[in-house]
Symmetry: C2
Subunit: 166 residues, 2 copies
DNA sequence: GTCGGGCCTGTTACACTGTAACAGGCACCG
DNA sequence: CGGTGCCTGTTACAGTGTAACAGGCCCGAC
């Protein structure tokens, strides 16, 4: 099932498609695992979930800061570490930025990030085909995988329609 | 002291992991394309090729510097841009580091980087299976790819044999 | 109740990564 | 000789990430 995190066509409305679900999942996971769902962590997650594109740590820090409150980037990094370890956000290595995790990764499927060069939206999808290809390649190389990243940069469907593919 | 990680006999596959062939290819490519194979570019490439693991730009700058000569990182970045554009080195996004490009990428195959968490070696391989899976996934998502990265972190065959898999 | 420990956050400092802008050198061409 | 283009040196700075220490809070042990 394709679960698209963000669709630029829903521009006027704070498209947290999956946003509410993500926050609820965060709360549940922390409760289940006996972890603390602190305000900083919640607000960090909200900042990421409320954005259709990948956010850098310093961008998040800026969003969380206000007139009376300053959040340092280092605090954001710690919150991001926590959220990443618990499968609530992903790091986009090619951008040094973070996106919400749109689903609870089952097994046997590779997560793939589709990063639009035009509008900056990051779509997360999964592919059993890629996982299978990866498994075969790794097996033939005698390599034992612990983690992997697959990131594709290009043009999303919405931006192709808007004139990019004239 | 720096650990010298090149293991001449550790690999059984055929492509040359950063030796004479790459330097010869660099010279040929520059000649063919009318580009300048300057000393800085050559030495940058040699530094990368002479290492079994990924090197950061500042590591390279340090290696190229000496008692009478200081190479700034910014110069290394420019050389790396040149080498990357001409398919002589690759950037490892998950490490912010660079490795020699082990072959002349044909079409239809995805390049995959296998990064050993134990010894730091980076192996470059290609996979038609992964490319096919990627194509299918992108087609079904309506996404037009321009570039992509696939990086796997884990344990290489040599390190598994050495007790890592105990 | 108080003490102590663990966890979280604030703060400072610093290292690493990467780019912009300008100046100088060098080759090549008119 | 002067101009042009490319490469490199240099400085400055922005962005990314981590180490180390201090303070606050909760919670269990005493």
């Amino acid at each position: 099932m394709d679960e698209h995190l963000s669709r630029p066509e829903a521009h006027e409305h704070d498209h947290d498609c999956g946003g509410e679900a993500l926050l609820a999942r965060a709360e549940r996971i922390c409760r289940e695992r006996g972890l603390q769902y602190t305000e900083l962590r919640r607000r960090t997650l909200e900042a990421i979930a409320g954005e259709g594109r990948a956010l850098g740590a310093y961008d998040i820090a800026e969003r969380l800061s206000g007139p009376g409150r300053r959040v340092a980037a280092v605090s954001v990094y710690r919150a991001l570490d926590f959220l990443t370890e618990n499968g609530l956000v992903h790091r986009i290595a090619s951008r040094n930025a973070f996106v919400p995790c749109g689903h609870g990764h089952g097994g046997g499927e590779s997560t793939v990030f589709l990063i639009c060069r035009t509008c900056g939206a990051v779509d997360e999808t999964v592919s059993r085909d890629i996982q299978r290809g990866l498994d075969r390649t790794l097996a033939s190389a005698g390599f034992k995988p612990l983690s992997h990243i697959v990131e594709v940069e290009g043009e999303c469907g919405a931006c192709q329609g808007k004139g990019g593919a004239a």
